[in-house]
Amino acid sequence: MSLEELYREVILDHYRSPRHKGKLEHASAHAEGHNPLCGDEIALDLLVEGGKVTKVAITGQGCSISQASASMMAEAIEGKSLDEVRDLIGKFKAMMDIEGDPKDAGIDPARPGAALGDLEALQGVRKFPVRIKCANLPWTTLEQALEDV
């Protein structure tokens, strides 16, 4: 377990320059997530058109893990169909499952990034169990938002 595994450069980059930051005027779905124990916050707006997530906007505050996870999630889901998004949620959860096997998330160590792209950088969080909930927060918020669709 090394800190370098947790704080990969791509994570720090998303933390410093979060993508898809902001709010949507005419969102189809909105959800807010909050981690009372550590104070991380995420507010998520989705625009869904023709069964696709066409636009994503996120505001939030919190640690590098929660904010980078949100930023990478936004990048990953924009443009995807709802089914693809749901599939991605499942894969992400499988990746973060402390008792699971990365293979269940479709991750192939030989081809890093092939399955989940930048998000695979969050694998290191599994070695820091208290931080897993930080990485998951945007995704549970996303699940909530999808209930509105």
């Binding site: 377990m1 090394s2 800190l3 370098e4 947790l6 704080y7 720090l12 410093r16 124990l37 550590c38 104070g39 991380d40 505050q61 919190g62 640690c63 590098s64 893990i65 904010q67 820091f128 931080r131 930080c134």
Partner: protein, 408 residues
């Protein structure tokens, strides 16, 4: 400073964390325990344990004597008039809820005000919110100043006849600030208000005299002062305790139980329903004896020396902001800070990798967090077993964090 050989009394300090020396800087959340405390509890359980009071046999007699001796030790430790004013509880939180329910529910109503400060821990906020909901009494808050002290003038302005309770922390668990409780109590008494003091942070770190503080009620926890979990104290001035109803009903707290009503046992038993935390009381007394042997003024000096050293060292770190008084006037050994570009939780994780245990978050004081504009801070806190080496390790860790995050 206290002789670092006290560290030998704390078994956990010899542990390494991920291969690094442990620098435990989270005593404000909960302190470590010396073997003297662990041994006292162990000995009770191994040689003279039984339930207290009702047993007409030797073990029960001995356990009762030990439990009541702990009460006397606690009374002496905080300068109480008599041991009967000391109620053993589960902790500060329960102590404060007992006052809110037992006194507040009985004596508060519409038009009454409960005056708190903006630096209270949730334990001295939420119980009053609950009582406010039941009684209609209104909560008002005294603000803090720009230099992170209680705005005492503003508090005095808020004090009028409608204020029935003043709830104030004797030391902020975030800022380290030690408000002038005795002055506030005197002013509060002028308008006839009850003074409820949260002593969770002060009691472990400074000599306390509840009489001199002028408190009506004074609450603290054992686990923050070298004692075990599961125990705390509510001290109350006898006249005030007599005005208070028990929060919890049950065994040992009654004089008689009829089918539809009951009468209460004498104070303090009235407020100790059920089997009390027997071993924990004995452990707390051992902790108090341990602290008294060092001397509480030595403890305070030790904390102050480390805090001063830490404030100096931290102020040399670029981008680091301290939330709390930056001099040693009326402040205790708690230092909260942020570092630009690194979230406090990330700081805590990186420091942990370097063996340094600090806390990050709102520290159960969200109203304060909002006021100071930092929803999360990192916090280092000091106690008898800490040394300048721990502070140095913290500073090194902070540099490491900045490096890792590429922060100048």
């Amino acid at each position: 400073m206290i002789d670092p050989s006290v560290r030998d009394d704390f078994p956990i300090l010899s542990r390494t964390i991920r291969g690094k020396r442990l620098a435990f800087l989270d005593s404000a959340a909960s302190s470590q325990k010396p073997r003297q405390v662990l041994d006292a509890m162990d000995e009770l359980y191994r040689t003279k344990y039984a339930n207290v009071y009702r047993g007409a046999y030797l073990l029960s007699e001995e356990a009762t004597t030990a439990y009541e001796a702990a009460r006397a030790t606690a009374a002496e430790f905080i300068g109480a008039d008599t041991a009967t004013e000391v109620i053993f509880t589960r902790g500060t939180t329960t102590s404060l809820n007992m006052v809110a329910y037992g006194w507040g529910l009985e004596h508060l109503g519409e038009g009454d005000k409960i005056l708190l400060t903006m630096m209270e821990h949730h334990a001295n906020v939420v119980p009053w919110q609950l009582i406010s909901r039941h009684t209609g009494a209104e909560l008002v808050y005294a603000p803090i100043t720009d230099d992170y002290r209680l705005d005492v003038d503003a508090l005095y302005q808020l004090l009028d006849d409608s204020v029935k309770v003043v709830g104030v922390t004797a030391m902020s668990n975030v800022l380290g600030t030690i408000p002038p409780v005795a002055d506030i109590a005197a002013a509060a008494h002028q308008v006839g208000a009850l003074v409820v003091v949260d002593g969770a942070q002060l009691t472990p770190h400074e000599p306390v005299d509840v009489q001199a503080l002028g408190a009506d009620f004074y609450a603290f926890s054992g686990h923050k002062m070298l004692g075990p979990t599961g125990i705390g104290v509510l001290w109350g001035r006898m006249e005030r305790l007599e005005e208070m109803e028990p929060m919890e009903g049950g065994g040992e707290m009654i004089a008689d139980v009829q089918l539809h009503s009951s009468t209460w046992a004498p104070i303090p038993h009235r407020f100790e329903a059920g089997t009390p935390p027997i071993a924990e009381a004995v452990g707390l007394a051992a902790a108090m004896n341990y602290l008294s042997a060092i001397g509480m003024d030595q403890v305070a000096k030790h904390d102050a020396a480390l805090t001063e050293y830490a404030l100096g060292a931290l102020s040399n770190i670029g981008g680091l902001h301290i939330y709390g008084p930056d001099d040693m006037q009326h402040r205790g050994g708690v230092v909260s800070f942020t570092v630009d570009g690194i979230h406090p939780h990330d700081l805590a994780t990186i420091l942990d990798g370097d063996g340094v245990a600090i806390r990050a978050g709102h520290h159960c004081a969200r109203p304060l967090a909002r006021t100071i504009g930092a929803s999360s801070t990192a916090r280092a806190s000091f106690y008898v077993y800490n040394t300048t080496e721990d502070v140095d390790q913290l500073v090194d860790g902070l540099h490491h964090a900045k490096e890792l995050f590429g922060v100048a």
